[in-house]
């Protein structure tokens, strides 16, 4: 892997304005979905973003896919600052970034044939003539393992796994450099899931892709990722290489997450020592470290101030946001 940065996030934040039922009718509130995320993604790597539902991983992914405008911070894609760009200026950058969605049923237009779905991006960017477009669409179908005769079919004629293959082909039409895959296999059965994961690995070689792989499934992430970022309540709390994260997790939340993953060994018994309670609502985040109400190591300082995401003493590439990290390494 070379070390060219393809996506560079500095202090990225996203705030949504909501109306929430309060004691005196509807109140305007701000929900900070993503807070102060600083992270770089290198060309060719698979960075996995893991966390529980509501932690902001999809919001972060959608900012990188240029669906959402960040509220503050900077975002550079392929060396170009995208904050504050106009629609027209963003258009050429959109070719570089594509997205694969979780639900292969909802993300394909049921009234379009596969050919229409795959040629639309080329039409938008006025690439090729119509014959060449059809040829390119057939090539892409072949690359994801579907026959060219499927071009004339509609999405409902396919199974879930095949639809996800079509979504992947669509994401590749414009020859992007960077793909945001938001839980691409969580709606699939395990035998189909492995087909899609293998396909994504093959395509990464073939098209020199960089992935942001958003998932809640640590076993899938363990199989696929080069580097892993763990999110909790809108913030990245730990970043490390796959090997370090699974073998030397530091943050108490990462440790609890790893302990909760069931392994396939016959052991009917309680898991024990698991994390109690629910993640706090992002509308009412706790003071200090967001994890402190559930953390077994929480002390006064954890309730008072927010820990920075910093390298551990032993490894400059292993970043942890925890006041007690030196005791926990």
């Amino acid at each position: 892997m070379n070390n060219v940065t393809i996506v560079d996030m500095q202090h990225l934040c996203k705030t949504f304005k909501l109306k929430v039922a309060g004691s005196s009718g509807l109140e305007n509130r701000e929900l900070q979905a993503v807070s102060d995320v600083t992270l770089k993604i290198s060309k060719g790597e698979i960075l996995a973003l893991v966390g529980e539902s509501g932690c902001g991983k999809t919001t972060l992914g959608r900012m990188l896919a240029l669906f959402y405008q960040p509220t503050s911070g900077t975002l550079c894609i392929d060396g170009q600052d995208v904050i504050g760009l106009k629609r027209k200026q963003l258009k050429p950058i959109r070719r570089q970034v594509q997205m694969i969605f979780q639900d292969p049923v909802a993300s394909l237009n049921p009234r379009h044939t596969v050919e229409a779905i795959l040629t639309e991006p080329m039409k938008i960017f006025s690439l090729y003539d119509s014959r060449q477009r059809a040829g390119k669409a057939a090539d892409l179908l072949a690359a994801v393992g579907l026959p060219p005769s499927d071009l004339k079919k509609y999405p409902h004629e396919f199974s879930g796994g095949q639809r996800q293959r079509i979504s992947i082909a669509r994401a590749l039409v414009l020859n992007p450099a960077f793909i945001v895959a938001d839980e691409p296999v969580s709606a699939l059965d395990v035998s189909v899931q492995s087909q899609i994961l293998n396909l994504m690995m093959d395509l990464r070689e073939e098209f020199q892709l960089t992935y942001l792989f958003i998932s809640h499934d640590l076993a899938v992430v363990h199989h696929l990722a080069d580097r892993i970022a763990v999110m909790y309540l809108g913030r990245i709390i730990e970043v490390a290489s796959k090997h370090d994260l699974f073998n030397n997790p530091v943050h108490p939340y990462t440790k609890a997450l790893l302990r909760s993953v069931p392994s396939i060994t016959p052991n009917k018994q309680r898991i024990g020592r698991i994390l109690q309670g629910d993640p706090p609502s992002p509308l009412y985040p706790p003071g200090g470290c967001a994890f402190n109400p559930r953390c077994p190591h929480a002390s006064e300082i954890c309730r008072g101030s927010l820990p920075a995401l910093e390298p551990t003493a032993t490894d400059p590439l292993h970043l942890v946001s925890c006041h007690a990290k030196e005791q926990l390494v």
């Binding site: 035998s191 492995s194 809640h216």
Partner: protein, 326 residues
Amino acid sequence: MSSVDETILSVSNLSIGFETDEGLIPVIEEVSFDLHTGRTLALVGESGCGKSVTAFALLKLLPPFGRIISGSIKFRGQELVDSTESEIQAIRGDRISMIFQEPMSALNPVFTIGSQVAESLLLHRHLDKKMAWQQAVEMLVAVGIPDAAQRAKNYPHQLSGGMRQRVMIAMALSCEPDILIADEPTTALDVTIQAQILDLMHDLQERFGTAILFISHDFGVVSRMADYIAVMYAGKIIERGDAGEILTGARHPYTCALLATTPRIDASVTRLPAISGRVPAPGQRPAGCYFQPRCPNASDHCGEQRPPPVDLSVTHQLICHEVVSE
């Protein structure tokens, strides 16, 4: 309370079909299994293999087009297949109850959770309202709802997903049923919450001696819960055994492939072995062995004859042409 390991429900040769425009299509074919008090049987398989239909059939909750073609379901000696609706109603929610995958759509949004837990107590135990409410609150305490007396007055939307699943479990267990059917109870939950719910089910099984039929597609979760495992493929149980026999000694090519294809955090592979093709739809099941078109070990006669049952041990059985017992 009955002693542990007593057979409490016995399903034998159960076949279920769906009425369609093309006639009656078999969905479940000759499924047999037993449930024992204080023990958990896990039904494992991919979507469409018929594991949920089997579970719904036990409570006669099949869709309007579903028919039990043949077979028997015996609960404590009583035949459920030809029992009347009112006989089933007396059992459903009292002796046999069920929890579902999606706790939000399984709870009624316009009633408080306390009244929903109390409902089956009013219906089956004929308690007065005050007593039922009190017991409902005790049940909510038992499933670990903090501040249960106040929380009982909440509506489902005021609870988190994990809390809602706890309420579902409280509802299902309020009459201390003999059998709990859990249909993918943790699939919609996050992994730390899933761990909480699985631990809770362990505790409650120990306390009430409930027999659990645990339906899941996830071998990881199943290994935490199951005493016995039955693997389903295209409407049939293709392999069954003690949890250890299946998880570490599976012999059916489908079970082996399913286990190998599951990503895990305690082992690394560069490439996941994939099972090619897909599960045949009901009505399009091939001749011979249903897994044969996808099977790496298939030989000619696999496509011609139904595979015979093979006994590997007293508990470990499978159907396959290519596996022979030692």
